[in-house]
Subunit: 229 residues, 2 copies
Amino acid sequence: MTEKRVRARRGDGALLREELLRAAEELLDETGTEEALTVRAVAARAGVSTPSVYLHFADKEELLEAVCLRVWDELGRLVAECRDPDPFLRLGRCGRAYIRFALDHPVQYRVLMMTPSAGEGVPPAAQACFGYMVDAVRACVEAGVMRGEPERLALALWSAAHGCAALLIAQPSFPWPDRDAMIDLIVRISGFGAALGPRMAGALPPSRELAAALDAFEARLGGQLPERP
Amino acid sequence: MTEKRVRARRGDGALLREELLRAAEELLDETGTEEALTVRAVAARAGVSTPSVYLHFADKEELLEAVCLRVWDELGRLVAECRDPDPFLRLGRCGRAYIRFALDHPVQYRVLMMTPSAGEGVPPAAQACFGYMVDAVRACVEAGVMRGEPERLALALWSAAHGCAALLIAQPSFPWPDRDAMIDLIVRISGFGAALGPRMAGALPPSRELAAALDAFEARLGGQLPERP
DNA sequence: TCGTTAACCTAACGGCGTCAACCTAGGGAG
DNA sequence: CTCCCTAGGTTGACGCCGTTAGGTTAACGA
């Protein structure tokens, strides 16, 4: 418990809500796990009695969800401001920004995206972020580098980015070869896969022929650009 | 509580361990969430007093981990028996088998793969499964359809499959367009991406040129095969 | 028959989320 | 200035949880 908070003025009852959220956020960042976020601990840190939490949150889950949602506005901003003259490169930037965001806020990301109960569905901020990714994919489709419904493609790419982030967050003890190289590889694979995969729908030659075609493809493109998707 | 269990014979104390695991597994499958798996509930269902659980498990987490690990032997078997004359198709089969397994055992998969504490790292059975996937990738590399270290490629593909499974499990309320089509799309994207992505390392032409090359690639391959990667 | 001991139970502790009931300070009405 | 009403909390308790210490019972060998 920090200190006994002075009672708010008459119209300012909602002040406590913000202070509770701040206290909970601090607890989450300090301990690195949501198990430390007990109603009692949050109330004590805010300098208030335990049941006072229920003046502003229906239950513990609502508090946890609210505090985790606070950082998600940042994600929409991060993804939205990924710009590049080339739509394919822009999409890659979006993917890397998404993964970086998840790794920067592992607890919040895990609570909101890796547990079934909390949030009753994908958070709205994440849906906005998904909208941006759909736009980026649509630009790729219009540029002729991808083919298919942008929504489905974006969903698949989102799934790939989520898989990378989720594994890195949930399995920190795994002997990852190199974190950043891994992220780059996954973003690259997803991007090129989204470009090539749907074109091959239904058609699938034997590996020998596929390998030859890939070699020819590789030989055709000699241009070098610094950034990768 | 079901019934008062009759005490085991003198050398058969370990019998209770199996009965506790069975009771816990039933609870998990019936309720669909690990929150129902309290030490008291498991003991009651096994017809035994609560502290008796601690005769065979150090704490609740060890019990939860043990019961979740029980289904994972199946995964190694499922992935290992994915065969196909074509290595690229075989890899696709492995990916789909992995995702299907995760969706068939959502609680166990989430507990072991989507929470940081439980298990102290990736379960051994999952590592064995990962070994099979590395083998499948290596075959693709040797066939010339992929390029790079098989371990890293397999890790990236594992991440993609995990992302698909994890999203489907953790966000059941999301309006997924079509579950099976989504899985197919992701497996296809990952496969072709792993084939094409590493070849493009460092090289990245503008989208216009990339689109043209992709069109040429598509035109070259007219062969149709029923199964897709 | 009896003692040993493996197998299990009883009782309890502290912490948790949550609720019903109570208090209290501070602003408006008279 | 006084009173009172209500927004903004607090006190105390309930039931459930994981976990522990110490007691009890029954199957076997001698």
